[in-house]
Protein backbone atom coordinates (compact mmCIF):
# COMPACT_ATOMS: atom_id res chain seq x y z
CA UNK A 1 0.00 0.00 0.00
CA UNK A 2 1.16 3.54 -0.73
CA UNK A 3 0.08 6.21 1.74
CA UNK A 4 0.96 9.84 1.23
CA UNK A 5 0.81 11.40 4.68
CA UNK A 6 3.02 14.40 4.03
CA UNK A 7 0.49 16.92 2.78
CA UNK A 8 1.96 19.70 4.91
CA UNK A 9 5.12 19.41 2.81
CA UNK A 10 3.24 19.51 -0.45
CA UNK A 11 0.16 18.06 -2.10
CA UNK A 12 -0.76 16.38 -5.33
CA UNK A 13 -2.25 18.71 -7.94
CA UNK A 14 -5.98 18.06 -8.00
CA UNK A 15 -7.86 17.04 -11.12
CA UNK A 16 -9.75 20.35 -11.13
CA UNK A 17 -6.52 22.32 -10.81
CA UNK A 18 -4.94 20.35 -13.62
CA UNK A 19 -7.98 20.93 -15.84
CA UNK A 20 -7.74 24.65 -15.15
CA UNK A 21 -4.04 24.68 -15.96
CA UNK A 22 -4.14 22.92 -19.31
CA UNK A 23 -5.90 25.74 -21.22
CA UNK A 24 -3.30 28.18 -19.93
CA UNK A 25 -0.65 26.02 -21.56
CA UNK A 26 -2.52 25.18 -24.75
CA UNK A 27 -4.84 28.01 -25.74
CA UNK A 28 -4.57 30.88 -23.30
CA UNK A 29 -0.92 31.46 -24.01
CA UNK A 30 -1.29 35.18 -24.64
CA UNK A 31 0.56 37.61 -22.44
CA UNK A 32 -1.98 39.34 -20.20
CA UNK A 33 -0.18 42.62 -20.85
CA UNK A 34 -0.66 42.39 -24.62
CA UNK A 35 -3.32 44.51 -26.28
CA UNK A 36 -4.48 41.97 -28.84
CA UNK A 37 -7.23 39.42 -28.39
CA UNK A 38 -4.92 36.64 -27.20
CA UNK A 39 -3.61 38.99 -24.51
CA UNK A 40 -7.08 40.16 -23.57
CA UNK A 41 -8.30 36.61 -23.15
CA UNK A 42 -5.40 35.85 -20.81
CA UNK A 43 -5.98 39.08 -18.95
CA UNK A 44 -9.64 38.19 -18.41
CA UNK A 45 -8.71 34.75 -17.10
CA UNK A 46 -6.14 36.31 -14.79
CA UNK A 47 -8.62 38.76 -13.35
CA UNK A 48 -11.20 36.03 -12.93
CA UNK A 49 -8.69 33.91 -10.98
CA UNK A 50 -7.81 36.89 -8.81
CA UNK A 51 -11.48 37.49 -8.04
CA UNK A 52 -12.10 33.89 -7.09
CA UNK A 53 -9.05 33.71 -4.84
CA UNK A 54 -9.96 37.00 -3.21
CA UNK A 55 -13.48 35.70 -2.56
CA UNK A 56 -12.11 32.63 -0.75
CA UNK A 57 -10.22 34.94 1.63
CA UNK A 58 -12.95 37.62 1.89
CA UNK A 59 -10.55 40.06 0.30
CA UNK A 60 -10.91 42.30 -2.72
CA UNK A 61 -9.23 41.31 -5.99
CA UNK A 62 -7.06 44.43 -5.90
CA UNK A 63 -5.65 43.25 -2.59
CA UNK A 64 -4.24 40.00 -3.99
CA UNK A 65 -0.70 39.98 -5.41
CA UNK A 66 0.55 36.80 -7.02
CA UNK A 67 4.04 35.68 -6.07
CA UNK A 68 6.25 32.67 -6.66
CA UNK A 69 4.99 31.09 -3.45
CA UNK A 70 4.83 31.42 0.30
CA UNK A 71 8.52 32.19 0.70
CA UNK A 72 8.42 35.22 -1.56
CA UNK A 73 5.19 36.46 0.03
CA UNK A 74 6.74 36.26 3.51
CA UNK A 75 9.95 37.97 2.42
CA UNK A 76 8.05 40.71 0.67
CA UNK A 77 5.54 41.43 3.42
CA UNK A 78 8.11 41.59 6.20
CA UNK A 79 10.75 43.53 4.29
CA UNK A 80 8.19 46.10 3.16
CA UNK A 81 6.52 46.46 6.55
CA UNK A 82 9.95 47.04 8.03
CA UNK A 83 10.75 49.69 5.45
CA UNK A 84 7.41 51.43 6.07
CA UNK A 85 8.10 51.39 9.80
CA UNK A 86 11.57 52.83 9.40
CA UNK A 87 10.10 55.80 7.49
CA UNK A 88 8.39 56.72 10.76
CA UNK A 89 11.40 55.86 12.89
CA UNK A 90 9.91 52.50 13.95
CA UNK A 91 12.47 49.74 13.76
CA UNK A 92 11.10 47.09 16.10
CA UNK A 93 9.55 43.88 14.79
CA UNK A 94 7.71 41.13 16.64
CA UNK A 95 7.49 37.52 15.56
CA UNK A 96 7.58 34.12 17.21
CA UNK A 97 10.30 31.56 17.76
CA UNK A 98 8.60 28.87 15.69
CA UNK A 99 7.91 30.61 12.41
CA UNK A 100 8.86 29.12 9.07
CA UNK A 101 12.40 29.92 7.94
CA UNK A 102 10.98 32.22 5.26
CA UNK A 103 9.94 34.49 8.14
CA UNK A 104 12.78 33.81 10.58
CA UNK A 105 15.57 34.29 8.09
CA UNK A 106 13.99 37.50 6.79
CA UNK A 107 13.85 38.76 10.37
CA UNK A 108 17.50 37.84 10.84
CA UNK A 109 18.40 39.72 7.68
CA UNK A 110 16.63 42.79 9.06
CA UNK A 111 18.40 42.45 12.40
CA UNK A 112 21.68 42.78 10.53
CA UNK A 113 20.30 45.95 8.97
CA UNK A 114 19.69 47.54 12.35
CA UNK A 115 16.18 46.42 13.21
CA UNK A 116 15.39 44.95 16.58
CA UNK A 117 13.35 41.77 16.62
CA UNK A 118 11.42 40.26 19.52
CA UNK A 119 10.93 36.50 19.17
CA UNK A 120 7.89 35.67 21.26
CA UNK A 121 7.99 32.52 23.29
CA UNK A 122 5.69 29.74 22.20
CA UNK A 123 4.02 27.89 25.05
CA UNK A 124 4.26 24.16 25.52
CA UNK A 125 0.87 23.71 23.87
CA UNK A 126 2.27 25.25 20.68
CA UNK A 127 0.27 28.45 21.08
CA UNK A 128 1.18 32.09 21.35
CA UNK A 129 -0.64 34.16 23.94
CA UNK A 130 -2.25 37.34 22.57
CA UNK A 131 -1.54 39.17 25.84
CA UNK A 132 2.14 38.48 25.33
CA UNK A 133 1.91 40.02 21.88
CA UNK A 134 0.25 43.05 23.45
CA UNK A 135 2.96 43.29 26.09
CA UNK A 136 5.72 43.13 23.49
CA UNK A 137 4.35 45.99 21.38
CA UNK A 138 6.30 49.23 21.86
CA UNK A 139 6.09 52.78 20.57
CA UNK A 140 8.52 51.87 17.83
CA UNK A 141 6.97 48.56 16.77
CA UNK A 142 6.49 48.43 13.01
CA UNK A 143 5.17 44.90 12.52
CA UNK A 144 3.82 41.81 14.20
CA UNK A 145 4.23 38.64 12.12
CA UNK A 146 2.70 35.50 13.58
CA UNK A 147 1.89 32.39 11.56
CA UNK A 148 -1.73 31.29 11.22
CA UNK A 149 -0.97 27.61 11.71
CA UNK A 150 2.39 26.00 12.35
CA UNK A 151 3.74 23.73 9.64
CA UNK A 152 5.28 21.12 11.93
CA UNK A 153 2.90 20.80 14.84
CA UNK A 154 -0.22 22.22 13.22
CA UNK A 155 -1.27 24.48 16.09
CA UNK A 156 -3.67 27.27 15.11
CA UNK A 157 -2.75 30.63 16.57
CA UNK A 158 -5.26 33.11 18.03
CA UNK A 159 -5.07 35.26 14.91
CA UNK A 160 -8.22 37.27 15.47
CA UNK A 161 -7.23 38.26 19.00
CA UNK A 162 -3.76 39.27 17.79
CA UNK A 163 -5.34 41.15 14.88
CA UNK A 164 -7.52 43.13 17.27
CA UNK A 165 -4.56 44.08 19.40
CA UNK A 166 -2.49 45.18 16.42
CA UNK A 167 -5.31 47.17 14.86
CA UNK A 168 -5.97 48.93 18.15
CA UNK A 169 -2.30 49.74 18.67
CA UNK A 170 -1.77 50.82 15.08
CA UNK A 171 0.80 48.15 14.28
CA UNK A 172 0.87 46.26 10.98
CA UNK A 173 -0.04 42.59 11.30
CA UNK A 174 1.24 39.96 8.87
CA UNK A 175 0.39 36.28 9.07
CA UNK A 176 2.01 33.40 7.23
CA UNK A 177 -1.15 31.46 6.43
CA UNK A 178 0.52 28.95 4.12
CA UNK A 179 -0.67 26.02 6.26
CA UNK A 180 -4.11 27.49 6.85
CA UNK A 181 -5.46 28.68 3.51
CA UNK A 182 -7.49 25.93 1.91
CA UNK A 183 -7.74 24.04 5.20
CA UNK A 184 -9.26 26.53 7.64
CA UNK A 185 -11.82 29.27 7.07
CA UNK A 186 -9.61 32.32 6.57
CA UNK A 187 -11.28 35.73 6.52
CA UNK A 188 -8.90 38.66 6.31
CA UNK A 189 -11.58 41.16 7.30
CA UNK A 190 -12.78 39.39 10.41
CA UNK A 191 -9.28 38.30 11.37
CA UNK A 192 -8.11 41.92 11.07
CA UNK A 193 -4.93 41.00 9.25
CA UNK A 194 -3.08 43.52 7.13
CA UNK A 195 -0.98 41.10 5.14
CA UNK A 196 -1.33 37.36 4.61
CA UNK A 197 0.86 34.87 2.73
CA UNK A 198 -0.43 31.76 1.00
CA UNK A 199 0.94 29.09 -1.29
CA UNK A 200 -0.79 27.04 -3.98
CA UNK A 201 0.94 23.71 -3.48
CA UNK A 202 -0.34 23.28 0.08
CA UNK A 203 -3.94 22.89 -1.10
CA UNK A 204 -3.60 20.77 -4.24
CA UNK A 205 -2.59 23.60 -6.53
CA UNK A 206 0.73 23.69 -8.37
CA UNK A 207 4.13 24.53 -6.87
CA UNK A 208 5.91 27.81 -7.42
CA UNK A 209 2.80 29.94 -7.15
CA UNK A 210 1.34 31.73 -4.18
CA UNK A 211 0.26 35.13 -3.14
CA UNK A 212 0.25 37.96 -0.70
CA UNK A 213 -2.88 39.70 0.47
CA UNK A 214 -2.19 43.33 1.31
CA UNK A 215 -5.03 45.36 2.77
CA UNK A 216 -5.83 48.32 0.57
CA UNK A 217 -4.26 51.55 1.70
CA UNK A 218 -1.03 49.97 2.87
CA UNK A 219 1.59 51.57 0.64
CA UNK A 220 3.88 48.61 0.07
CA UNK A 221 6.39 48.94 -2.72
CA UNK A 222 7.56 46.38 -5.22
CA UNK A 223 9.96 43.77 -4.00
CA UNK A 224 11.76 43.34 -7.28
CA UNK A 225 12.16 45.69 -10.19
CA UNK A 226 10.38 44.97 -13.44
CA UNK A 227 7.28 45.52 -15.48
CA UNK A 228 3.88 46.84 -14.48
CA UNK A 229 2.31 43.50 -13.57
CA UNK A 230 0.48 42.98 -10.28
CA UNK A 231 -0.57 46.62 -10.00
CA UNK A 232 3.03 47.72 -10.57
CA UNK A 233 4.14 45.92 -7.44
CA UNK A 234 5.50 42.65 -8.75
CA UNK A 235 7.00 42.59 -12.21
CA UNK A 236 7.29 39.56 -14.42
CA UNK A 237 4.97 37.91 -16.93
CA UNK A 238 2.36 36.10 -14.90
CA UNK A 239 2.59 32.38 -14.19
CA UNK A 240 -0.76 31.74 -15.83
CA UNK A 241 -0.95 27.94 -15.44
CA UNK A 242 0.06 28.37 -11.81
CA UNK A 243 -2.43 31.10 -11.09
CA UNK A 244 -5.35 29.37 -12.80
CA UNK A 245 -4.49 26.06 -11.17
CA UNK A 246 -4.21 27.66 -7.75
CA UNK A 247 -7.54 29.45 -8.16
CA UNK A 248 -9.30 26.22 -9.09
CA UNK A 249 -7.67 24.33 -6.22
CA UNK A 250 -8.54 26.94 -3.64
CA UNK A 251 -12.10 27.26 -4.82
CA UNK A 252 -12.49 23.51 -4.67
CA UNK A 253 -11.00 23.31 -1.17
CA UNK A 254 -13.20 26.13 0.09
CA UNK A 255 -16.37 24.73 -1.45
CA UNK A 256 -16.41 21.71 0.87
CA UNK A 257 -14.12 22.80 3.66
CA UNK A 258 -16.53 22.13 6.51
CA UNK A 259 -17.22 18.50 5.52
CA UNK A 260 -13.61 17.85 4.62
CA UNK A 261 -12.18 19.24 7.81
CA UNK A 262 -14.62 17.27 9.95
CA UNK A 263 -13.68 14.05 8.15
CA UNK A 264 -9.95 14.78 8.18
CA UNK A 265 -10.05 15.71 11.88
CA UNK A 266 -11.66 12.37 12.65
CA UNK A 267 -8.83 10.55 10.89
CA UNK A 268 -6.31 12.75 12.70
CA UNK A 269 -7.88 11.97 16.05
CA UNK A 270 -7.88 8.24 15.35
CA UNK A 271 -4.16 8.42 14.67
CA UNK A 272 -3.51 10.57 17.73
CA UNK A 273 -5.41 8.14 19.91
CA UNK A 274 -3.68 5.05 18.53
CA UNK A 275 -0.17 6.50 18.59
CA UNK A 276 -0.73 8.05 22.00
CA UNK A 277 -1.20 4.55 23.41
CA UNK A 278 2.38 3.57 22.60
CA UNK A 279 4.69 3.95 25.59
CA UNK A 280 6.93 7.03 25.94
CA UNK A 281 5.40 9.04 23.17
CA UNK A 282 4.20 12.61 23.33
CA UNK A 283 1.86 14.56 21.12
CA UNK A 284 3.39 17.85 20.05
CA UNK A 285 1.05 20.80 20.31
CA UNK A 286 -2.47 21.33 21.53
CA UNK A 287 -4.70 18.27 21.01
CA UNK A 288 -7.58 20.10 19.34
CA UNK A 289 -6.38 23.61 18.52
CA UNK A 290 -4.60 22.25 15.44
CA UNK A 291 -5.23 22.00 11.71
CA UNK A 292 -7.49 19.07 10.82
CA UNK A 293 -4.75 16.92 9.32
CA UNK A 294 -1.72 17.38 11.58
CA UNK A 295 -0.42 14.54 13.73
CA UNK A 296 2.93 15.28 15.36
CA UNK A 297 4.58 12.98 17.88
CA UNK A 298 7.92 12.42 19.54
CA UNK A 299 9.00 8.87 20.31
CA UNK A 300 11.59 8.56 23.03
CA UNK A 301 14.54 6.30 22.34
CA UNK A 302 14.46 6.44 18.55
CA UNK A 303 15.68 8.79 15.90
CA UNK A 304 13.30 10.35 13.37
CA UNK A 305 15.13 9.60 10.16
CA UNK A 306 15.25 5.87 10.77
CA UNK A 307 11.57 6.00 11.59
CA UNK A 308 10.85 7.78 8.30
CA UNK A 309 12.96 5.37 6.29
CA UNK A 310 11.23 2.37 7.84
CA UNK A 311 7.82 3.89 7.18
CA UNK A 312 8.91 4.61 3.62
CA UNK A 313 9.88 0.96 3.16
CA UNK A 314 6.26 0.16 4.05
CA UNK A 315 4.97 2.71 1.56
CA UNK A 316 4.15 5.44 4.08
CA UNK A 317 5.41 8.96 3.31
CA UNK A 318 5.82 11.13 6.41
CA UNK A 319 8.27 13.69 7.73
CA UNK A 320 10.37 14.42 10.80
CA UNK A 321 12.03 17.36 12.48
CA UNK A 322 15.07 15.34 13.47
CA UNK A 323 18.50 16.85 12.89
CA UNK A 324 19.46 14.05 10.56
CA UNK A 325 16.56 14.67 8.21
CA UNK A 326 17.29 18.36 7.96
CA UNK A 327 20.92 17.84 7.13
CA UNK A 328 21.83 20.04 10.08
CA UNK A 329 23.00 19.01 13.50
CA UNK A 330 20.10 20.61 15.31
CA UNK A 331 16.65 19.14 15.67
CA UNK A 332 13.67 21.23 14.62
CA UNK A 333 13.55 24.78 15.98
CA UNK A 334 9.78 24.37 16.29
CA UNK A 335 10.05 21.47 18.72
CA UNK A 336 12.78 23.22 20.69
CA UNK A 337 10.60 26.35 20.81
CA UNK A 338 7.79 24.46 22.52
CA UNK A 339 10.23 23.08 25.04
CA UNK A 340 10.79 19.55 23.76
CA UNK A 341 14.24 18.46 25.02
CA UNK A 342 16.78 17.93 22.25
CA UNK A 343 17.20 14.22 22.91
CA UNK A 344 13.46 13.73 22.46
CA UNK A 345 13.12 16.14 19.54
CA UNK A 346 15.35 13.83 17.48
CA UNK A 347 12.56 11.26 17.57
CA UNK A 348 9.84 13.32 15.97
CA UNK A 349 7.32 12.26 13.35
CA UNK A 350 4.81 14.35 11.45
CA UNK A 351 1.95 12.73 9.58
CA UNK A 352 -0.09 15.29 7.68
CA UNK A 353 -3.39 14.20 6.23
CA UNK A 354 -5.94 16.05 4.20
CA UNK A 355 -9.07 15.44 2.19
CA UNK A 356 -7.14 13.23 -0.23
CA UNK A 357 -6.56 10.61 2.47
CA UNK A 358 -8.86 7.70 3.26
CA UNK A 359 -9.75 5.78 6.41
CA UNK A 360 -8.03 2.62 5.10
CA UNK A 361 -4.80 4.55 4.93
CA UNK A 362 -5.17 5.52 8.56
CA UNK A 363 -5.82 1.85 9.40
CA UNK A 364 -2.67 0.92 7.53
CA UNK A 365 -0.53 3.45 9.41
CA UNK A 366 -1.99 2.26 12.70
CA UNK A 367 -1.15 -1.30 11.69
CA UNK A 368 2.45 -0.62 10.67
CA UNK A 369 3.74 2.12 12.95
CA UNK A 370 3.80 0.35 16.33
CA UNK A 371 5.93 -2.51 14.99
CA UNK A 372 8.41 -0.12 13.44
CA UNK A 373 8.70 1.88 16.64
CA UNK A 374 9.25 -1.31 18.60
CA UNK A 375 11.92 -2.65 16.24
CA UNK A 376 13.88 0.59 16.38
CA UNK A 377 13.57 0.78 20.14
CA UNK A 378 14.79 -2.78 20.48
CA UNK A 379 17.81 -1.77 18.46
CA UNK A 380 18.42 1.31 20.57
CA UNK A 381 21.02 1.23 23.37
CA UNK A 382 19.01 3.68 25.44
CA UNK A 383 15.58 2.15 25.33
CA UNK A 384 16.05 -0.54 27.96
CA UNK A 385 16.81 2.01 30.64
CA UNK A 386 14.17 4.37 29.38
CA UNK A 387 11.26 1.99 29.45
CA UNK A 388 12.05 0.85 33.00
Amino acid sequence: MFVYADNAATTKVSRKALEAMMPALEDLYGNPSSLHQAGRAAEAALWNARERIAACLSAEPREIYFTSGGTEADNWAITEAARLGALKGKKHLITSAFEHHAVLHTMQKLEKQGYEVTYLKVHEDGLIRPEEVAAAIREDTALVSIMYANNEIGTIQPIRAIGEICRERGVLFHTDAVQAVGHLPVNVREDLVDMLSFSGHKFHGPKGIGGLYVRKGIPIRNFMEGGAQEFRKRGGTENMPGILGMAAALEEACSHMAEDSARVARMRDRLIEAIGKLPKTRLNGHPSQRVPGNVSFCFEGIEGESLLLRLDLQGICASSGSACTSGSLEPSHVLLAIGVPKEIAHGSLRLSLDASNREEEVDYIIEKLPGIVETLRDMSPVWEEMKA
Binding site: I302, E303, S306, C324, L329, K342, E343, H346, P381
Partner: protein, 147 residues
Protein backbone atom coordinates in the same frame (compact mmCIF):
# COMPACT_ATOMS: atom_id res chain seq x y z
CA UNK B 1 16.33 17.61 1.95
CA UNK B 2 15.82 14.48 -0.03
CA UNK B 3 18.85 12.21 -0.04
CA UNK B 4 19.45 9.01 -1.78
CA UNK B 5 21.12 6.18 0.03
CA UNK B 6 22.90 3.46 -1.90
CA UNK B 7 21.27 0.06 -2.17
CA UNK B 8 23.86 -1.34 0.23
CA UNK B 9 23.06 1.30 2.84
CA UNK B 10 19.36 0.59 2.53
CA UNK B 11 20.00 -3.14 2.77
CA UNK B 12 22.02 -2.76 5.96
CA UNK B 13 19.47 -0.30 7.33
CA UNK B 14 16.45 -2.46 6.56
CA UNK B 15 18.14 -5.72 7.56
CA UNK B 16 20.86 -4.75 9.99
CA UNK B 17 23.35 -7.53 10.76
CA UNK B 18 24.52 -8.22 14.31
CA UNK B 19 21.90 -6.30 16.23
CA UNK B 20 21.85 -7.11 19.91
CA UNK B 21 23.99 -7.57 22.96
CA UNK B 22 26.60 -10.06 24.06
CA UNK B 23 26.38 -11.13 27.67
CA UNK B 24 29.77 -11.13 29.43
CA UNK B 25 31.35 -9.47 26.43
CA UNK B 26 35.13 -9.19 26.34
CA UNK B 27 34.89 -5.60 25.21
CA UNK B 28 32.10 -3.03 25.21
CA UNK B 29 32.27 0.48 23.82
CA UNK B 30 29.67 3.22 23.71
CA UNK B 31 30.04 6.54 21.89
CA UNK B 32 27.84 9.49 20.97
CA UNK B 33 25.07 11.02 23.00
CA UNK B 34 21.34 11.58 22.97
CA UNK B 35 21.60 15.31 22.57
CA UNK B 36 23.23 15.14 19.16
CA UNK B 37 21.01 12.32 18.09
CA UNK B 38 23.15 9.24 17.80
CA UNK B 39 24.57 6.67 20.17
CA UNK B 40 26.27 3.47 19.23
CA UNK B 41 27.22 0.62 21.51
CA UNK B 42 29.41 -2.27 20.33
CA UNK B 43 29.96 -5.61 22.06
CA UNK B 44 32.85 -7.94 21.26
CA UNK B 45 33.46 -11.59 22.00
CA UNK B 46 37.18 -12.34 21.62
CA UNK B 47 38.85 -15.73 21.67
CA UNK B 48 42.57 -16.26 21.17
CA UNK B 49 42.93 -12.76 19.82
CA UNK B 50 40.19 -13.29 17.21
CA UNK B 51 36.88 -11.42 17.25
CA UNK B 52 34.49 -14.35 17.36
CA UNK B 53 31.39 -12.23 17.53
CA UNK B 54 30.40 -8.57 17.36
CA UNK B 55 27.03 -7.02 18.08
CA UNK B 56 25.65 -3.52 18.27
CA UNK B 57 22.82 -1.35 19.51
CA UNK B 58 22.35 1.99 17.81
CA UNK B 59 20.13 4.99 18.36
CA UNK B 60 20.46 7.07 15.24
CA UNK B 61 19.58 7.76 11.67
CA UNK B 62 19.68 5.45 8.66
CA UNK B 63 23.37 5.95 8.03
CA UNK B 64 24.23 5.43 11.71
CA UNK B 65 22.42 2.10 11.70
CA UNK B 66 23.83 1.00 8.35
CA UNK B 67 27.41 1.86 9.33
CA UNK B 68 27.00 0.03 12.65
CA UNK B 69 25.83 -3.03 10.78
CA UNK B 70 28.64 -2.86 8.23
CA UNK B 71 31.36 -2.12 10.78
CA UNK B 72 30.46 -5.13 12.90
CA UNK B 73 30.40 -7.30 9.78
CA UNK B 74 33.84 -6.08 8.81
CA UNK B 75 35.51 -6.94 12.11
CA UNK B 76 33.89 -10.30 12.75
CA UNK B 77 36.39 -13.13 12.44
CA UNK B 78 39.32 -10.72 12.32
CA UNK B 79 42.26 -10.64 14.72
CA UNK B 80 41.93 -7.72 17.14
CA UNK B 81 45.02 -5.97 15.82
CA UNK B 82 43.49 -6.00 12.37
CA UNK B 83 40.16 -4.70 13.65
CA UNK B 84 42.11 -1.81 15.14
CA UNK B 85 42.83 -0.63 11.62
CA UNK B 86 39.16 -0.26 10.75
CA UNK B 87 38.47 3.21 9.43
CA UNK B 88 35.33 5.15 8.94
CA UNK B 89 36.36 5.60 5.33
CA UNK B 90 36.56 1.85 4.74
CA UNK B 91 33.11 1.35 6.26
CA UNK B 92 31.62 4.05 4.05
CA UNK B 93 33.31 2.58 0.98
CA UNK B 94 31.97 -0.86 1.79
CA UNK B 95 28.52 0.69 1.82
CA UNK B 96 29.10 2.22 -1.64
CA UNK B 97 29.29 5.68 -0.09
CA UNK B 98 27.08 8.01 1.92
CA UNK B 99 25.63 11.40 1.06
CA UNK B 100 28.17 14.06 2.18
CA UNK B 101 25.90 15.50 4.89
CA UNK B 102 25.67 12.03 6.37
CA UNK B 103 29.37 11.39 6.77
CA UNK B 104 29.37 12.77 10.30
CA UNK B 105 26.84 10.12 11.30
CA UNK B 106 29.19 7.38 10.17
CA UNK B 107 32.26 8.24 12.25
CA UNK B 108 30.58 6.73 15.26
CA UNK B 109 31.02 3.24 13.86
CA UNK B 110 34.79 3.46 13.86
CA UNK B 111 34.80 5.13 17.24
CA UNK B 112 32.51 2.58 18.83
CA UNK B 113 34.63 -0.31 17.56
CA UNK B 114 37.76 1.36 18.93
CA UNK B 115 36.09 2.07 22.24
CA UNK B 116 35.13 -1.60 22.50
CA UNK B 117 38.68 -2.68 21.64
CA UNK B 118 40.08 -0.29 24.24
CA UNK B 119 37.81 -1.88 26.80
CA UNK B 120 39.00 -5.30 25.68
CA UNK B 121 42.69 -4.39 26.11
CA UNK B 122 42.01 -2.89 29.50
CA UNK B 123 40.06 -5.91 30.66
CA UNK B 124 42.93 -8.12 29.55
CA UNK B 125 45.39 -5.95 31.43
CA UNK B 126 47.20 -5.27 28.17
CA UNK B 127 48.63 -1.93 27.09
CA UNK B 128 46.05 -0.01 25.08
CA UNK B 129 47.27 0.56 21.50
CA UNK B 130 47.50 4.12 20.29
CA UNK B 131 44.78 3.61 17.66
CA UNK B 132 42.21 3.28 20.42
CA UNK B 133 43.17 6.51 22.06
CA UNK B 134 42.72 8.77 19.05
CA UNK B 135 40.82 11.99 19.70
CA UNK B 136 37.17 11.81 18.87
CA UNK B 137 36.56 13.05 15.38
CA UNK B 138 32.84 13.07 16.01
CA UNK B 139 32.34 16.75 15.45
CA UNK B 140 29.13 17.32 17.30
CA UNK B 141 29.92 15.93 20.71
CA UNK B 142 28.67 17.55 23.87
CA UNK B 143 31.52 20.01 23.99
CA UNK B 144 30.70 21.48 20.60
CA UNK B 145 27.04 21.83 21.41
CA UNK B 146 25.62 25.12 22.49
CA UNK B 147 23.04 25.10 25.22
Amino acid sequence: MAMTYSEKVMDHFAHPRNVGKIENADGVGEVGNMVCGDIMKVYLKVENGIIEDAKFNTFGCGSAIATSSMATEMIKGKPVDEALKLTNKAVVEALDGLPPVKLHCSVLAEEAVKAALKDYYEKQGLPVPEECLAESSHDHGEQGEEA
